[in-house]
């Protein structure tokens, strides 16, 4: 079983789909683990106060690392959102692997749906595309102004993110150095930063 080292905790993980396309190796042997470059899981595990008793929406959940970290840190309500149906499968399996009840999953594009009230919205490595970045920026602003939602964005230094307007409204929370195996899996990336979005 492949594991994800997050801070000084080891979370068992089966599969990280990463993005829209994914490749599955045959189960159950030789699973493919892609270690994420999002600092949110570690931040939530290291700072459970951020989520304890709160409702958390994880946009672009991927393998579910952030959603699972939120659950472990005592979030009262969680929704893992990823349009990739395989991500949905991965999240369920990873909950099982980490001996947690499965978290609710939404595979529809949340940007097209009516906004719900969330106390915390987290996004990991979602600003790699300019158009998507623009849509997310708009959606997050609405969420912030309508519900006073706290928004945390994890990013490993994607150029599209560092060059986007949203930068003016971000406050740096913490920067983590990516562990060596993560660096090898993600050429060019060395750190991941968690940002607080305050428009």
């Amino acid at each position: 079983m492949a594991t994800l080292e997050v801070g000084n905790r080891t979370i068992g993980f089966l599969l990280d789909t990463g993005i829209t396309y994914s490749v599955l190796t045959s189960f159950p042997a030789d699973v493919c683990l892609v270690v994420g470059v999002d600092g949110n899981p570690r931040y939530l595990l290291d700072n459970p106060d951020v989520v304890r008793g709160r409702s958390v929406l994880d946009i672009g959940s991927g393998c579910g690392a952030t959603a699972i970290a939120a659950k472990m840190s005592g979030a009262s309500r969680i929704l893992a959102n990823d349009i990739d149906p395989i991500a949905g499968l991965a999240i369920t399996l990873n909950c099982e692997l980490n001996k947690l009840d499965p978290v609710p999953i939404l595979t529809r594009n949340i940007l097209n749906l009516e906004q719900d009230k969330w106390e915390l919205v987290v996004l990991g490595d979602m600003f790699y595309d300019e158009d998507l970045a623009d849509s997310l920026h708009q959606w997050l602003k609405n969420c912030f102004w309508t519900y006073g939602t706290r928004v945390l964005i994890g990013d490993p230094g994607r150029p599209q993110f560092s060059g986007h307007n949203i930068q003016h409204q971000l406050h740096k929370v913490v920067e983590y150095s990516l562990p060596e195996p993560t660096r090898q899996e993600n050429n060019g990336l060395t750190t991941s930063t968690v940002w607080d979005f305050r428009p």
């Binding site: 789909t17 990463g18 993005i19 829209t20 396309y21 994914s22 490749v23 599955l24 190796t25 045959s26 189960f27 493919c32 683990l33 892609v34 395989i86 499968l89 490595d125 790699y128 595309d129 230094g157 994607r158 150029p159 560092s162 660096r183 090898q184 899996e185 993600n186 050429n187 060019g188 990336l189 060395t190």
Partner: protein
């Protein structure tokens, strides 16, 4: 800190290990069905760009390739090695065969300006034509300084210190950015990106397996030592998060016509047997006989 942006040219060439066969009509070499890969010197250029990015000296690495649709494989390799996005300058296969350094340099120069990069990194030459001209021409067209045959590149503020491998030894020069650098063999040892992953996995239905081939050998293995392949399909997944923009040379206002045409391509002459002589006197006599002295 990292405000620099780098454009890296990558060329798709016949793989170094393939035995080249000349076409019977002598118009060129056989390329159909032949294994191709990224030009080794281009790999070194990509590696250097990614290392600069890892040191947070470069903020974005853009990989560009000119040619037919298969060039996207080469760009994807660059993405998997760590480039951020790709630009494919689409040129139909027949026209691509006539692409030479001048045409590519025109494209790169235009792209360098359009993308507002500070650094153009290229391999010193391609292993198919051995031209060793594209970097120099690109610098000339842009009126940028150039550091060719680079064996070491160091950023010093707004200047680039380049150590060059020249016949007499090593020459160190300092270039004001923006600049063009061409990579020589000893600049670095590129990381692996295994071929099957770069071939771009399609979305596969649940439960189907993926056949992975073994990574292939590299140029100058004896010289560089064996390298460890990086892990499997993670790279194609990451590479998929990165866009490849497809454009035409015309979109850049570049004319691809060449004033050079290939007359013929032939095998080198067969090596004939040598002549052995017994003594020095015999050797001198022989040399006189064939008019060498």
């Amino acid at each position: 800190m990292a405000e620099l942006r780098a454009l890296v040219g990558v060329k798709r060439v016949i793989d170094f290990a393939v035995k080249i066969r000349v076409k019977p009509d002598k118009s060129g070499v056989v390329t159909d069905g032949v294994k191709h890969s990224m030009n080794p010197f281009c790999e070194i250029a990509v590696e250097e760009a990614v290392r600069l990015k890892e040191k947070k000296l470069v903020k974005e690495v853009i990989a560009v390739s000119c040619g037919p649709s298969q060039c996207q494989e080469t760009i994807r390799t660059a993405l998997a090695m760590g480039a951020d996005r790709g630009i494919h300058v689409e040129v139909p296969a027949a026209e691509a065969e006539r692409l030479g350094p001048l045409q590519v340099a025109r494209v790169l120069a235009k792209l360098a300006e359009k993308e507002k990069v500070n650094l153009v990194l290229l391999g010193k030459q391609a292993i198919d034509d051995d031209c060793n001209q594209t970097g120099q021409m690109t610098a000339g067209l842009l009126d940028w300084p150039q550091g060719t045959f680079a064996s070491q590149v160091t950023l010093e503020g707004d200047k680039l210190k380049v150590e060059r491998e020249i016949d007499g030894g090593l020459e160190t020069i300092r270039l004001k950015l923006p600049a063009v650098v061409t990579a020589d063999l000893r600049l670095n040892e590129p990381r692996y990106a295994t071929l099957p992953n770069i071939m771009g996995a399609e979305v596969q239905s649940l439960g189907t397996g993926l056949q992975l081939e073994l990574p292939w050998a590299r140029l100058g293995e004896a010289e560089r030592g064996l390298r460890q392949p990086l892990s499997q399909s993670s790279h194609v997944q990451k590479a998929k998060k990165k866009k490849i923009e497809v454009i035409k040379a015309g979109d850049l206002g570049v004319d691809l016509t060449s004033k050079i045409s290939v007359v013929s391509v032939e095998d080198p002459p067969q090596r004939t047997a040598g002549v052995k002589v017994e003594t020095t006197e015999d050797l001198v006599a022989k040399l006189r006989e064939v008019g060498r002295i």
